[in-house]
Symmetry: C2
Subunit: 189 residues, 2 copies
DNA sequence: CTGTAGTTTCAGAAAATACTGAAATATCCG
DNA sequence: CGGATATTTCAGTATTTTCTGAAACTACAG
């Protein structure tokens, strides 16, 4: 690997973190490389930059495309496919959330649903099913919330984040507003 | 493995998902088993239920304790350690978020900080650093937000989730309130 | 149709990870 | 302390995952 120092450290870090993120080292490195590259790179550029085999790069790029974290981009006067990461980090975050949900949460949700449909044949199973119901309820609440906020434009999402826990203040206000609406004597909030 | 049908399916599913969640099959199964068990189990119970080696269970339990997803619990008249998962699913969610952040996000955040301190030695590095700054900004916003809401009691967290994207309505209200505060003539909202 | 440049597939090698049984260690009780 | 029970460590084995080079495939230009 022969990259400028900062780039190299970044790429190596992503390689190491790869395993914790459920991807392998090469895939992590390819992503990092494309992320900090000022222009789209072709597979051979990646081979050269990372010093791994051509076929490994091919597989890595395929996997990253499967995650929608890397997109092909045509470059004038070159038959070869070139690749970039989407530029907007907020978009990347959405993609990541979406894909992780799809891989890590959805399968479990559907298994839980199936198991909750079945009739328990023993006390153990009855208890187990109750626990599964709790887990199912939690996941369902989370995914409903996620489905809701994923549609927000970035700007709104950012202000929501910036508010943080302070939004709960408005929950209080809401309670008061509701009270007013029920005919109690209003007074200034 | 010899468990009641529902329990068994649940345990097997967690074993399969393990790899996607960054844990191995046995660890996933142990967790699932403890989660649906009506009483704390000792290591030998787990060996018996899952049909894996004693030492494997020992390592798995150790790992799960490292994640704070399993806690030892004493059982009367038995010298052996017994283990449970915390009962409250919301607490489990918090723990999971906390641990995943610690393992998957924090190391990258600190590497990014380091790399942003360094002086770029080339145009490539200058560009790379700009991209790293974007990523750093995003992660920092997310972790700030997370630090904020992780402290909420469950009840408030739940209502926040239930509100979903509707909280943004209050952002509009807030704008109005600010406007009022600046001396424009107030009228009922 | 043929040659060329580019890409993907795939079987096996290499590396990493998970699992086991045996031995070592720790803990408790009398 | 000595013996019994419970737990952990660890070296070796098995399994899984990753990576490679060679071959197969594809698309296009001449």
């Amino acid at each position: 690997m022969d990259l400028p120092p900062l780039a190299q450290q970044f790429v190596l870090h992503f390689g190491e973190m790869g395993s914790r993120w459920g991807i392998n080292r090469t895939v992590g490195q390819i992503y990092a490389l494309l992320y900090i590259s000022p222009r789209p790179l072709c597979a051979d550029d990646v081979v050269e930059a990372l010093g791994v085999s051509r076929s490994n790069v091919s597989m890595g790029l395929r996997e990253l495309q499967g995650w929608n974290l890397v997109v092909p981009r045509h470059v004038a006067d070159d038959r070869r496919d070139h690749f970039t990461t989407p530029g907007d980090v907020w978009q990347i975050l959405r993609t990541l959330a979406e894909e992780r949900k799809k891989r890590e949460v959805d399968p479990t949700l559907s298994v839980l649903r199936e198991l909750l449909m079945q009739t328990p044949g023993s006390d153990e199973d009855r208890f187990a099913q109750a626990r599964m119901a709790e887990m199912h309820g939690l996941i369902e609440q989370l995914t409903t919330w996620y489905d809701d906020i994923r549609r927000l434009e970035t700007e709104r999402l950012v202000s929501l984040l910036a508010m943080g826990a302070r939004v709960t203040k408005f929950l209080d206000i809401k309670d008061k507003v509701v009270t007013f609406g029920r005919g109690r004597s209003p007074r200034k909030a």
